[in-house]
């Protein structure tokens, strides 16, 4: 019997289907059925990224009658993103349309949360070996009638004798397995001990190599480094989209989801735990010989025998014996199911500053059950464990030189100082610098424009997309398969628009344009500039940057610049000796472009260094060196956090910093890079 409170819904092209409660939004239904639809604004009906199409008619294959009428009331918010024609064709916003009857929903390519290409490769940083978990090999005598002491006590005695380890505890689950392992190893075992305090694992025989994983939980991307703790080498780097992205792109929308939904926190926490588990699994699977591969494009899957000279580690998640996690304060709280509500409101106090050691089993993280997960400490509400990770990786507090460290993400974090004093701050950059919120912004997936050049004389555009090495100039239009613009492309684009004179210092489009690429949009009468013509794209329309997009980027870069400047003023300095740029796209930040667009105050180009995912490096350092954990706790309480927005002239500074590269500040180091007539506007 059909349940009248439910409706059937099918998503195409994924083919996912199921029944959902009538009245839920299409986005909510997609979430329930595991279909990823973009929702950058967190269903506030403002981003238009979740555009979907409701198919009309009876579909035998699924035996459902789908109709636009089943999509609920049309809302005014939708008019901004969907024109009359599209509306006729069944287009709706997923966050506005409601399931009121059976539906067949098509998710267009642009609305699909695509697979992201992330470059969070491990960087070679100097870490001293002193891990929290160490392996000790002991041999104990077999019990006899004369000497029938218990198994554990024998091991404890041997550890004391050989290594001077005293007062050791043992994890209860490890104890359950102890007697078997001891006999299996014929009274010779390797014991994993955490912080010289607790036995976590007993393995038969002698084992040298052991493994841990360091994780950076970003708002958008989660990256994990699987490391051989004994040798300190990185076995593999794996990454994924944060599964919480479906609740909204930024930290605030996640916190709001918690405030609006009773089970929101539990849901989001479960999502990230599930994500972590799948990352661990993914990393471990990569250490096994490939089972099945497709050979030279044939459809048949064939099993190949591993080559003789390759040694496969064949790790299992239970082989992971230590884990460290960094993340911003909100990600930290949501993972640990700590109420994140107060982190989202001034004065933004976190629930806890200090680092935590929590048993993996208590967090439902599927690695070795007995081990601890080490969560690094938080600095402040908007400067979390991820920034602490950056700090312990870069150690500015040990250096004489004055360093400015910028971690660009959905939230920008800034650190300035040297061994005498260190201050930190955060600024709401929003996701614009990562490509989100812009008309044609997208994640760093294949088809995303990542490099752009604009000719200053003709204003002609050349560009390169991810997944294709050949630039547009040397390609046929249809070969480009362009879909949008990603974060690193945005930086390039913005700097080039300014350098070539397409936009003025104020960010306004130059009234003297040289090319038909500049036009007024016929729908909203807004000026825009075409980057890729429709025939170069897979989405069938021109990819443009609008005046509004330029404004979004100006807000983000203005916030960063203003933050840097106010912090420099706080320390009474007018220049820094080094600028380090970190972040998800920090790995491919073009330092020249960053300076041209005015992400930070003027400095010599040679002094700008890209440090990649420094937060993840910090997690790795804490995995391999227990002193780094101490150091993290110390530094998290010794960096002075500064709330910039309450500075008296914040508004004025912010406003000045919105111009390119700045309203008033001189940029001597751009001479020769940017034409004088542009620079001296």
């Amino acid at each position: 019997m059909a349940d009248t409170d439910k409706a059937k819904i099918i998503f195409q092209p994924s083919g996912r289907r199921g029944e959902v409660e009538k009245g839920v939004t299409i986005i909510e239904a997609s979430r329930q059925l595991g279909v990823d639809i973009e929702s950058l604004c967190g269903e506030k009906k403002v981003c238009g990224k979740c555009t979907i199409r409701i198919e009309e008619g009876f579909f035998e294959k699924y035996s459902i009658q789908s109709s636009k009428k089943h999509g609920g009331e049309w809302l005014v918010e939708e008019e901004k993103f969907i024109n009359k024609e599209q509306r006729e064709a069944g287009y709706r916003l997923g966050c506005c349309a409601r399931v009121e009857g059976d539906l067949l929903v098509f998710v267009p390519e642009e609305s699909r949360a695509g697979k992201q290409v992330v470059s969070k490769a491990a960087r070679d940083i100097n870490i001293e070996w002193n891990p929290a978990v160490e392996y000790y090999y002991v041999e104990v005598s077999e019990p006899t009638i004369q000497e029938p002491t218990g198994d554990l006590e024998r091991i404890l005695e041997a550890l004391n004798q050989k290594y001077g380890l005293k007062n050791l505890d043992i994890d209860y689950l490890t104890l359950q397995d102890l007697s078997n392992q001891l006999r299996k190893g014929k009274w010779r075992v390797t014991v994993a001990i955490w912080m010289d305090k607790e036995i976590l694992q007993v393995l038969p025989g002698k084992t040298k190599d052991y493994y841990g994983i360091a994780v950076d939980v970003g708002t958008t991307t989660v990256a994990a480094y699987l490391c051989n703790i004994a040798t300190m080498e990185v076995v593999d780097t794996v990454s994924m989209m944060n599964p919480q992205c479906k609740y909204g792109e930024d930290v605030m929308s996640r916190i709001t989801y918690h405030m609006m939904h009773q089970d929101g926190l539990a849901k989001m926490s479960a999502d990230i735990v599930m994500g972590l588990n799948s990352l661990v699994k993914q990393a471990c699977e990569a250490t096994h010989p490939p089972k099945k591969v497709k050979k030279n494009g044939s459809d048949k899957e064939e099993t190949i025998t591993p080559e003789q000279d390759i040694h496969y580690l064949c790790l299992d998640p239970t082989d992971i014996i230590d884990m460290t996690i960094v993340g911003n304060t909100a990600m930290h709280h949501i993972l640990l199911k700590l109420n994140p509500e107060y982190v989202g409101m001034a004065p933004f106090p976190p629930a806890v500053h200090k680092s935590m050691d929590i048993k993996a089993r208590d967090l439902d993280i599927q690695i070795n059950k007995s081990v601890y997960v080490h969560i690094l400490p938080n600095e402040a509400g908007f400067v979390g464990a991820d920034n602490v990770g950056v700090l312990i990786a870069e150690e500015p507090y040990k250096k004489d030189e004055m360093q400015l460290i910028i971690d660009i993400g959905t939230n920008g974090e800034l650190v300035l100082g040297n061994k005498k004093k260190l201050i930190s701050s955060s600024c709401a950059t929003g996701p614009a610098l990562e490509g989100a919120q812009l008309t044609f912004g997208m994640r760093a997936a294949p088809g995303a424009i990542e490099r752009i050049k604009i000719d200053p004389d003709s204003h002609e555009v050349d560009y390169k997309v991810i997944g294709r090495d050949t630039w547009k100039t040397y390609s046929k239009s249809e070969e480009m398969q362009t879909k949008g613009i990603c974060g690193s492309g945005i930086l390039d684009l913005f700097a080039e628009l300014y350098r070539s004179g397409v936009i003025l210092k104020s960010g306004r489009f130059n009234p003297n344009q040289k090319n038909s690429r500049f036009r007024k949009n016929s729908d909203n009468n807004q000026p825009e500039f075409v980057i890729a013509w429709a025939n170069e794209t897979t989405i069938g329309k021109d990819i443009v940057i609008t005046q509004k997009d330029v404004r979004q980027i100006q807000l983000a870069k203005g916030a960063l610049y203003c933050g840097c400047k106010l912090m420099m003023r706080r320390l009474g300095i007018d220049k820094v000796e080094k600028v380090k740029v970190a972040g998800a796209f920090g790995t491919h930040v073009d330092r020249e472009k960053a300076l041209i667009m005015g992400l930070f105050p003027d400095c010599e180009i040679e002094k700008i260094i890209s440090i990649g995912n420094a937060a993840g490096d910090g997690a790795r350092a804490a995995l391999l060196n227990r002193e780094k954990r101490e150091e993290a706790n110390w530094v998290s309480r010794n960096v002075e956090y500064i709330e910039l927005t309450v500075e008296k002239d914040f508004q004025q500074q912010f406003v000045e910093a919105m111009q390119i590269p700045h309203m008033k500040d001189q940029f001597d180091h751009l001479k020769g890079i940017v034409p004088d007539e542009i620079l001296n506007q």
Binding site: E341, M345, A346, S506, R551, L555, F654
Partner: protein
């Protein structure tokens, strides 16, 4: 007739120089208005404010941005400082005599948008009681009661702090249902306004400006009738 031409010329100068944010020229024109004995209120509304209406339109089209907007505001304020002391009480019709309580709600320290709105109200002749930012929710209620203001304008830049607006609306409506409550800020939507039981809404800082400018526009219309 010559006098009338000069007056129109000065009004145009006030308006144009607000748009091109040329503070000195605004000051010059404003002084001339006073010297020639033209109606100061007329110069504010049909000169300065008229220019700001166009600024608002440019902003709405994203052609002007926050820096330009604020520079225009500076120019406008410079003119206002000169003209305001010369306003005759009888020029202020009923329409312009409102009082507004304005502030950014508790937990939120962003106030650029709020400051822009505040300016708009001031230009329109409202008496503005600015509570600043991170304002405890009860303070809005107290200030409204104390001043008997007609309008309470609440701003929030973060979704998390936006939730506090609902409480303020409830508290005020409970005591005085005739107060008009206006919400603004990045996360605020029309839905939220309705859900929270507020009376008016400005979609973003930009639209808030637009809204406020429309208000000025309406005031000017009423005045010319």
């Amino acid at each position: 007739m010559e006098k009338e031409e000069l007056k129109q010329e000065l009004l145009k100068q006030l308006s144009d120089n607000v748009i091109s944010f040329e503070e000195d020229k605004v000051v010059e024109a404003a002084k001339k208005v006073v010297e020639e004995g033209f109606n100061a209120y007329d110069a504010i509304m049909n000169g300065l404010a008229a220019g700001m209406v166009i600024v608002g339109e440019l902003y709405d089209k994203h052609e002007y941005f926050v820096p330009e907007l604020l520079m225009c505001a500076d120019a406008l304020y410079a003119g206002l400082d000169i003209l305001k002391p010369h306003i005759k009480p009888e020029d202020l019709g009923e329409s312009a005599k409102g009082q507004v309580v304005i502030g950014t709600v508790q937990g939120d320290v962003h106030d650029i948008g709020k400051n822009i709105i505040k300016m708009m109200f001031e230009v329109a002749g409202f008496t503005v009681h600015d509570l600043g930012r991170d304002v405890p929710l009860e303070k809005f209620v107290e200030e409204q009661m104390r001043t008997d203001s007609d309008i309470v304008a609440l701003s929030a830049m973060m979704t998390t702090t936006m939730m506090g607006m609902k409480k303020v609306v409830e508290m005020i409506k409970e005591r005085n249902p005739n107060v008009a409550i206006m919400l603004g800020g990045a996360p605020v939507t029309k839905d939220v306004t309705e859900l929270f039981g507020a009376d008016g809404y400005a979609k973003s800082a930009g639209n808030a400006v637009q809204e406020a400018i429309k208000m000025i526009g309406r005031l000017r219309e009423m005045q010319t009738k």
